[in-house]
Amino acid sequence: MGLLVNSVVLASVYALIAVGWVVIFRASRIPNFASGSIILVGALIFTSFVGDGSGSILLPLVLALAATGALAALIHRGLLTPLTGERLWAPTVLLFGLSILLGALASLFWGNQPRVLPQPVANSTYELPMGASITTYGLLSIVVTSVVIAGLLAFFRWSRTGTQMRAVAESGLLASQTGIRINHVTTLSWVIAGCTSALAGIQYGYVNIVGQEMSVLGLRGIAPALIGGFDSVKGVAIGSLIVAAVETYGVRYLGGESQDAVVFVVLLAFLVVKPYGLFGTAQIRRV
């Protein structure tokens, strides 16, 4: 039972990362392999704005999200727009390279020491039934993620921009015919992904620490995104819960080294059985 609670907390971080993958993939069919370094940079920017934690965390939070969103927009406009129409390897290799570049720049700028975030509220532990417990920050992480996912679902469902984004995801060509500016919509999706990634980094930072190890978190968003369907926001929630549970129980019963392996075995199984995930759109290819 305690493991289950842990995996829900973990899922709340993964869901935000996976949403970033899904939102970008829907808009531009690009896998964001620089996701991990964006998470790291977002969290590090937040630590700089927070400082010793004497002030409110609201302003640093808004500034960190804005800065990371701007960075993501810059990546899309400056580096990926020129690659429009290129084969998959081009954005893949570029984003891996960018990830190395950003990670190294972060080390030069912020140093390599892990940082502990100052806690604005006391971190207490709440007892749950059946011997489980949850910390204040674990609980906050779940609440924040739920609100963000619900907000994004509402945004895509009801807002004008959200509808445009869905139209672009479905067919870029048809969407452009109705006057939707695809490039703007895609940049916006990068901004959203930048913000959710930074938020994921900050949540992870409060539950654990902020440090270089966070750059591996980016790839941990792939499995929940793919199991959920890679182009479905609501699939992400389910996908994250599955992946976090698999990972938590895998580490418990097979040891810490199995963390990535068990998740990717489940992922491979999904690729074989349900290649378009639980909620994904099947792509039909005609010859």
Binding site: P31, T92, V93, G97, E257, D260, V265
Partner: protein, 346 residues
């Protein structure tokens, strides 16, 4: 403009000469750079076959290297099998695993293949960890220097001959393959799967063949790795290693066998030069340990710049430089007789 057959085959006559001469001329760290470049080039040729020629992005390279290296560890360090026997076996086992991984993977396209190979990589690393734990523990396998006939390969110079001979043989074999009907089929698939299918090429079969051959080559590179570094540890095989091979294939020139060599030299040579000539300046500015970060900044920046500005890699840059005099001549000819310029430049 077609050059004479003799002048065209001249570079190949120079290969054995270069393999003999270069290691004799350099020494010390330059020689070990030359060796690591040669080792990397073998794996890069393997990846280039599947990525540059057949157009399939794979990030499982480090996994196949691990398979080769662990085969060497289990058979040679544990059982005492000779190098020349272990080398093909490592390639064979990697080929079998590559076929098993590739069979479902070639049916999915694009991103799904990337993710399937990523998943394979993590599973391979975990299996390697388990194997290491069950046999030798955390120190890893300790390898004896390989023996070929009565010669024991132990000095860097001997290693250089072995590595570069192997690399040149594999490079020439792959080059011949790329120019055969197989190569043409792969390139057709790379350029358009649908048109390849419509002219009767079995897309999954050819993709799988490229994947299998590539895995075999990378597996053999893994065996060489194990013997060269004299130890096998699962920690050596990481996602970063796979990415490095992607980068080598790209910076050298996708689809170009010579490019695999240019790319290896560039990707390993630039950090080497930074370490050698700029380490003092960097440490003054960024403190101890700053060199590794600056190396990564430069590395990452080069990757981004190559994808954006020279996506065909160094091979295409060199090609342009070589062709520059001919282009100038044809431009001059075009000015004299504009009517034939289209024919001349075609």
């Amino acid at each position: 403009m077609r050059s004479h057959p003799v002048t065209r085959s001249l570079p190949f006559a120079l290969i054995p000469l270069a393999i003999l001469a270069l290691p004799a001329l350099v020494g010390g760290t330059t020689l070990s750079l030359l060796n690591t470049v040669g080792l990397a080039s073998i794996g890069a040729i393997g990846l280039n076959l599947v990525m540059g020629v057949a157009g399939q992005v794979s990030i499982g390279n480090a996994g196949f290297l691990a398979i080769g290296a662990f085969t060497a560890g289990l058979l040679s360090a544990e059982q005492g099998w000779p190098f020349l026997v272990v080398l093909p076996i490592g390639g064979l086992i990697a080929a079998v695993v590559g076929t098993l991984v590739g069979a479902p993977a070639v049916r999915v396209r694009g991103l799904y293949l990337v993710i399937a190979t990523l998943a394979f990589l993590y599973v391979a690393i975990f299996v390697a960890y388990k194997v290491q734990q069950a046999t030798v523990g955390s120190i890893g396998f300790l390898m004896d220097p390989p023996t070929i006939g009565s010669v024991t390969i132990s000095t860097p110079r001997q290693w250089s001959y072995l590595i570069w001979t192997t690399s040149a043989l594999i490079g020439l074999a792959v080059r011949a393959l790329v120019r055969s009907r197989y190569g043409r089929a792969w390139m057709a698939i790379r350029d358009s799967e649908i048109s390849a299918e419509s002219v009767g090429i079995s897309v999954p079969r050819y993709k799988l063949l490229a994947f299998t051959l590539s895995s075999a080559i990378v597996g053999m590179a893994g065996v060489m790795f194990a013997f060269y570094y004299q130890s096998v540890q699962f920690e050596a095989f990481t996602l970063d290693m796979s990415i490095q091979y992607l980068v080598i294939a790209l910076i050298g020139g996708l689809g170009s066998i010579a490019g695999s060599y240019y790319g290896s030299l560039f990707v390993l040579g630039v950090p080497f030069l930074l370490q050698r000539y700029a380490a003092d300046v960097i440490e003054d500015r960024f403190g101890f340990g700053g060199v590794a970060y600056v190396q990564n900044v430069v590395y990452g920046a080069f990757v981004v710049a190559f994808v954006l500005f020279e996506p065909q890699g160094i091979a295409s840059v060199l090609h342009r430089i070589r062709r520059a005099p001919a282009r100038r001549r044809s431009r001059r000819a075009a000015r004299i007789a504009p009517a034939t310029s289209g024919v001349m430049s075609a």
